[in-house]
Symmetry: none
DNA sequence: CATGAATGAGCCTTCATTCAT
DNA sequence: TATGAATGAAGGCTCATTCAT
């Protein structure tokens, strides 16, 4: 992650990585057949880890808005704390190493969000808009928040979290 | 632009570029001292062209919301129409070639936006929030809109444009 | 040729070859995309050169036996003088680099031989055997002659040439 | 044998061989100090096995021509049945691994053949030619026969065997 | 202004081999 | 006797870059 973050995915040299890990370049090839496979492995592992570690817990008794806020915050925090990992994914996807690997999209999260939006719409709390658009709004606000935090223009303290989410909420509330 | 879009900025090879342009690689070096300089040149030119070609015209007599909408739409459209250029900028900025080049910040636009926001706040039409946050909201919505359009999940027709901006507006309106 | 002859086809290193030729390894790759292509090129060129330079001239007026002898001698001499080239071809064909490249078999020679054999059979001078077998006999004697010469167990002077061909002739004469 | 036959002697990898045999590469080094030694071992063993298994039995009472024919056939058959082993020997000898290893020449066979030729010459049945040349003739015809059989252009049935030997015989008979 | 020709630096990768266990 | 783990040495190949013409 660090290497990719610092030098870009094309800038990662096998030898450099090996040295960083404290093994010989050859040893890298004992475990990964090629640079491409290494990158793919990382990517795959990341895709799964992300799922697991992003603890989108559903707490049943909260009112909708709070539930949504909690989810949004969890996502945002995750994105901030795993900025380098996210960066890897982004870079990998636009690198020549990423060539349509099958990638059975794992929709666990997506479905959860969809359900939540449906509930909100049902209860008349948020606008009756297509799922893609509602998601886009949240993602957009999330990305910008992350960027503000990472660029040190903002800290994600209670107050700011409240603020950013309230803006998001205003955007989609009925 | 095409090369960067297709293969990533790290995948652009001088020889390939030369061939694409119909000249010899050596000739490239008549005009650019190095690959780095070439990339920088493109970046710089892009930064200026963007300014010029994005015709953020100020029409004095419109009410604030309409003025803002117009600006937002102009930006969004520009981003869609110049997706490859934007992509270049994004990639360049996180590439090893981009090393804090002085970058006399081109604030023409930023200032214009700042002024507009200030007006809106003054008139009590939009929330009294820091400039960075207001911008973030608009950028976030814009980026997501662009993404929806580019991924063919949406067309930016009158209706959708209205919708997306109305969401943005709800997010920041007082 | 020398390198292959000395070290085997797998033992030829691009760097070594480059140095031998007086250029840099990179330069080799300007002209040949890979070691494989280089080898293929040589092989192809060899296959054509062989044809041209092996001056199987048809002299019309000679009696059959003399004509055959002349041909046999020409072949044998050619094989001796181009031992390294022949060695290359042999090695290349059993190397991993040789993978069924189309190779439109150039039958110019084969046809000439076939014709000659047919004439001999027609005239009742040589045994009426399948073409493959007649060729085998001549090739076998040729190969062995070459080997004897190369291993310095024999010189291909007039006398020995006469001897070896006479043996061949005895084998196939009617 | 299979590996060498399929990929050439330069294509044999210790790891691959180990896997094929069902042991670990390291284990190979318990039994053979190096790849070179392994190859040499195989070669040596082959040279001896060849001797033993090629059952050049001397049957005293046959007339010379029949005895010679029998020997020729035995050789030829052996070469066909042990094509892969012969191939190994051929390849090994021109590989960089083969560096003039002492090679106590195994003359058992050679001597037997020499004796036989001497007898033939004595009896005035075959030409009075140097041993090398007589051997060459038989080897040449043998090699070509093997090649015809292996390339499926011929089967070594009674008839063909008779034919090929009769040609050989014609070549050397007095 | 253009380029053909050439190359050094450096990267990915392979593979025989070692060695502690 | 067997091997998992590791690696040094070396080879193939790429690519930005130079320079004489």
């Amino acid at each position: 992650m660090d290497l990719v973050y610092t030098q870009g995915i094309a800038g990662v040299k096998m030898a450099q990585l090996a040295k960083l890990v404290g093994i010989s370049p050859s040893t890298l090839y004992v475990y990964f057949k090629s640079k491409e496979e290494l990158l793919h492995s990382i990517y795959s592992e990341l895709m799964n880890k992300d799922l697991d570690s992003s603890p989108i817990t559903e707490e049943i008794d909260l009112p909708f808005k709070l539930k949504l806020k909690k989810m949004w915050l969890q996502w945002t925090n995750f994105a901030i704390n795993n900025a380098k990992e996210m960066n890897f994914i982004t870079q990998f996807k636009q690198s020549p190493y990423y060539e349509k690997l099958p990638e059975e999209v794992r929709d666990k999260n997506k479905q959860m969000v969809k359900d939540m939006f449906n509930d909100g719409i049902q209860e008349g709390l948020i606008k009756d808009l297509p799922f893609d658009i509602l998601t886009a709004v949240m993602l957009g606000m999330m990305q910008q928040t992350v960027q503000l935090v990472l660029s040190k223009k903002m800290t994600l303290n209670q107050e700011n979290a409240d603020l950013m989410f309230s803006i998001t909420w205003d955007a989609i509330k009925a």
